[in-house]
């Protein structure tokens, strides 16, 4: 028979910590959004730039001086969705 403590221990184990860095990257999203505002505005008014971003998102970000962190890339991909 399982004791309450064993049950609690099993439930604690059910939620392991995500790999290091993942959580911190997600916390960067508010800063990433601020950083992306200029780029998103340009994507919306410049079809050629939009095509460049769609072709190679990470490289375009670098050219624009924005570090393509996972948070920035995930957020920009969301913005590019139809």
């Amino acid at each position: 028979m399982t004791t309450p403590e064993e049950r609690i221990a099993a439930l604690l184990r059910a939620l392991p910590a995500p790999p290091q860095g993942l959580t911190e990257a997600a916390k960067e999203l508010p800063a990433a959004r601020r950083e992306l505002e200029t780029i998103v505005a340009r994507i919306e008014r410049d079809a050629r730039f939009r095509a460049l971003v769609a072709a190679d998102l990470e490289q375009t970000l670098r050219v624009e001086g924005v570090e393509p962190t996972p948070a920035v890339v995930a957020l920009l991909r969301r913005r590019l969705e139809p």
Partner: protein, 195 residues
């Protein structure tokens, strides 16, 4: 037990309150990762991509959440959709409503686990740390003892004591019941696993 409800947390995020988004990520990071990695059994790299995608979606769409008390099911559903998209891209046909074998139980267990994790806030920082290190970071008695400058035997007894405290936080009525066993007796004084 929990310092703020999900509804309060959402309101703080939507008001751009300092630290609110960090709190939301801290509260749900393990949940999202566990759904991707354990319920849908995605490869580690895929689970990490799903994790990033889910938080990007939640961040972008938080203001569209109609029922602010439904944050957890909304995040669960978003994670399921992202996981299913990943499986489809990998050529595994599936739908959002079609869960892998045992996934229903897995999701229910994660909801229960979230309640237990929320109850950790009712413990001392020392107890929270030792339980987190042992059960969720999978650290050995030796590693924890070295970090906290305590003998391994002391770590084992502290884990047992902190688990008993957590049990009392989760079930305060039982904790007040007459004739309640002491923590050492209740746990048999033992915590299984690593030495």
């Amino acid at each position: 037990m929990d310092p703020a409800s999900d509804a309060e947390l959402v309101a703080r995020c939507l008001a751009d309150e300092q630290g609110a988004w960090d709190d939301l990520v801290d509260r749900y990071a393990r949940y999202v990762y566990a759904i991707a990695a354990r319920v849908y059994r995605l490869e580690p790299a895929d689970a990490e991509d799903v994790f990033q995608e889910v938080f990007a979606r939640v961040f972008e769409r938080l203001d569209t959440l109609r029922d602010v008390d439904a944050l957890r099911p909304w995040i669960a559903q978003t994670t399921r959709r992202c996981a299913v998209d990943t499986l489809r891209r990998a050529g595994r046909e599936t739908s959002v409503d079609e869960l892998p074998d045992g996934a229903d139980e897995g999701l229910a267990q994660l909801d229960e686990a979230m309640t237990v994790h929320a109850a950790l806030t009712g413990l001392s920082p020392d107890c929270r740390e030792i339980l987190d290190r042992f059960f969720t970071r999978d650290e050995s008695y030796r590693t924890i003892g070295a970090e906290l400058e305590l003998p391994p035997g002391t770590i084992a007894s502290r884990i047992a004591r902190c688990l008993a405290r957590l049990r009392d936080v989760l079930d305060p009525d039982a904790a007040r019941a007459p004739g309640r066993k002491t923590p050492a007796h209740a746990s048999g004084g033992k915590v299984r696993r690593r030495r």
